[in-house]
Symmetry: C2
Subunit: 347 residues, 2 copies
Amino acid sequence: MPDVQAADLHRLARELLCATGTGAAAAHVIADSLVNANLAGHDSHGVLRLPAYLEGARQGHVIPGAVPELVSVNGATAIVDAEQGWGQPAMWLATRAAIDRAREHGLGAAVVHNCYHIGRVAPYVESIASEGMIGQAMANAAPAVAPFGGRARVMGTNPMAWAVPRAAGAPPICLDIATAGIAEGKLRVARSRGFPVPAGNVVDRDGRPTTEPGDFYAGGALLAFGGHKGSGFSLLAQFIGRGLAQMDPSGYDGPRGVNGPFILAIDIARFTDLDQFRAEVEAQCEAVTCCLPAEGVEAVLLPGQPELAMRSIREREGVPIPDSTWQELQALADEHGVTLPNERHAG
Amino acid sequence: MPDVQAADLHRLARELLCATGTGAAAAHVIADSLVNANLAGHDSHGVLRLPAYLEGARQGHVIPGAVPELVSVNGATAIVDAEQGWGQPAMWLATRAAIDRAREHGLGAAVVHNCYHIGRVAPYVESIASEGMIGQAMANAAPAVAPFGGRARVMGTNPMAWAVPRAAGAPPICLDIATAGIAEGKLRVARSRGFPVPAGNVVDRDGRPTTEPGDFYAGGALLAFGGHKGSGFSLLAQFIGRGLAQMDPSGYDGPRGVNGPFILAIDIARFTDLDQFRAEVEAQCEAVTCCLPAEGVEAVLLPGQPELAMRSIREREGVPIPDSTWQELQALADEHGVTLPNERHAG
C-alpha cells in the first residue's frame, strides 16, 4: 500500500479530470474535495472515487465540461443548476449563494438541481462557519438504506452536516455524517477483506439482521443510524432532496453518484454578538472535552477532532492508497497519458 | 388508572394555570400543548407536567403573568423574549415570526430568550408545515446527557423536530425526537415500576453501561441516540441554544424545565411549485409505507403515524392518567379550588 503526498494526489486528480474534458478551475476544486477527504481519513470520499467519476463521465452520467449556473435568487433563497456537471463546483456556487443571501437577509439557503456527486460535505459548511455563520447541509442520494422497520432500499445514505465557528483562529467545529449506520464504502472494504460489519447496520434481502457485508450486495439494505430517529433524519433529506432540489434518484439501480443538496447559512450576528457566540461555543467545547470519559474510553472528542488529528498525520506522512485503488489509478493514468506520482512504500 | 376526556383535562389545566396567575389566552395554549402531548401518546410532555409547572411558578423559576414580546425583527430573523414566562406562548410567537419572515424572505428563523419549558415541539413545526412550509426546530435543555464517550451530564435531552406538508387535507409528516436515546420521563416510569431500560441508553456515575434506571438518578447520565452521530446533533442544539437563544442551563442542578429554542421556516414556493412538492412528498411516503417490512415487523410507518393512531384512540376513549399523577392533580385542584373532572375508570 503506497503512501502518496497530498500534493501529488491533487495533481494526479486534476490532470485526470482535465484529460476528460473538465475545466482547470473545476478540476482544482474537485481535486480539493477528494484529497481533503483523504487527509481527513475519509478515504471513501477520496481519490478512490476518481475511477467512478471518470466512468460516470464516459457513460454520460456527468458532463465534465458543464458549467454550473446560479439560475435564480429570490430573497434569502437561491437555486443553482449544475447542468449535469460535476457536483463540487455547483455546490461551491450554492454555498457562496447561501452565504451571500445570509449576509443580506440573516439567513440564506440554496439547492442544486441536476447535480452529480458533491463529495464530502464538511468543506462547504466549514466555509460558512469560517465566515462567522452557522452552516447546515443535507442531500439525498441513490437508494441504499431501508426505512426503520423495512427491508428494501428506499433512502440514500443521505449525508447531513453542520459547522459552527470557534474562537478566532481555531478551525470550525464540524459534524459530517452519513445517516446510514455505516458508509457503503466501509462495507465494500469489509467485504474485500472478508471481515464482518458491526451488528445493526445491514439487513439481508429477507429483512434479517446480518453482519455479512456481502448480504447487502445480494439484495439487502443498509439501516439508518440510531433507529427510527436516524431514519427520520434521513427521510427529511429525502423529502428536501427530492422536493426542493428536484433530485429523484429512486429510478437508479444501486448506488451511483448523484445528490440533491440543500445548504443553509445562519448569520450569527443577526442574533447576537459574534465574539460572544464564539465564547459560548468555547465554553461548551470545554464542557465536552473536560467531560470524564466513560469506562474504556481515552478522551471525549469534539466532532471533527479525529479528522483534524488524521490530517496532521497524513499531511506529514502522505496518504496510504490501497493497492487495488493504486492499480486503477495507474491504468487511468496510462490511458490518459498522465504521469503517476512517486509513491513512498509504507513499512 | 382513570381515563379522562381530553376536554376535561384541558379545562383542568387551564383552570390550574389561571389560578396561579396565568392569563386566559396563555393558559389555553399551554393546556393545548399538554393535552395534545397526551393525545399523541407522549405522556412525558402531558398533564403530568402540571405539578412541576406550578411548582416552578411557586419557586419563581417562571413568572405566570409575564407576556412574551417580539423584541427584534431583522431581515429573515427574529428574537422573542419570553420575559421569564411560560415557554409555549413565547414559542408560538417565535413560530409566527418565523413564518412571517419566511413569507417575506423565503426563509425565517426565530430564537426565544429567557424561556421556560416549551412542551412538545411537534405542534410548532406542524403549524409551519400547515402553511406550506418546511419547519425545523431544536432546543437545548438542562444537562442530563453525556457527550459520546463521556460519563458526565453535559448536554440536555435536546429535542429536534421537523415537519413537511403532505397532499392537501392530510396532516403534515412530523418527526419530533429527543436527542437522548431515551426520554428522562420514560426512565422515571421504568424506575417506579422496577423495570430495566434497554441497553445503550444510560451510564452510571462511573461511566459504565447500565440498564438500571436508578443509576441515572444516582449520578449517572443518559446517552445520546445513535452514538457519535446523535451526540453530534445534540451538540448543535447545545451550541445554538446557548449561543443564539442565550440559554445556558448548565448551572442548573438536574433536569428543570428551561429551553433555548430555535425555529426555522423554509418557504417551499421559493424553490418549487408547492403542489409539485406535495406530490413528491406523497411519492416518497408511498415508497416508505409500501416498503416490505423487516423480519418480525408488521408494517413500515412514517414519522408521526404512531402518534396519529394514538390520537384517534384517546380522543375516543380518553387519556389514561396514572394514579400517582391523578393524586397530584387532585391535591392541586383542592389547593386552588378547582373542580376535578369526572374520571372514567378503565377496566
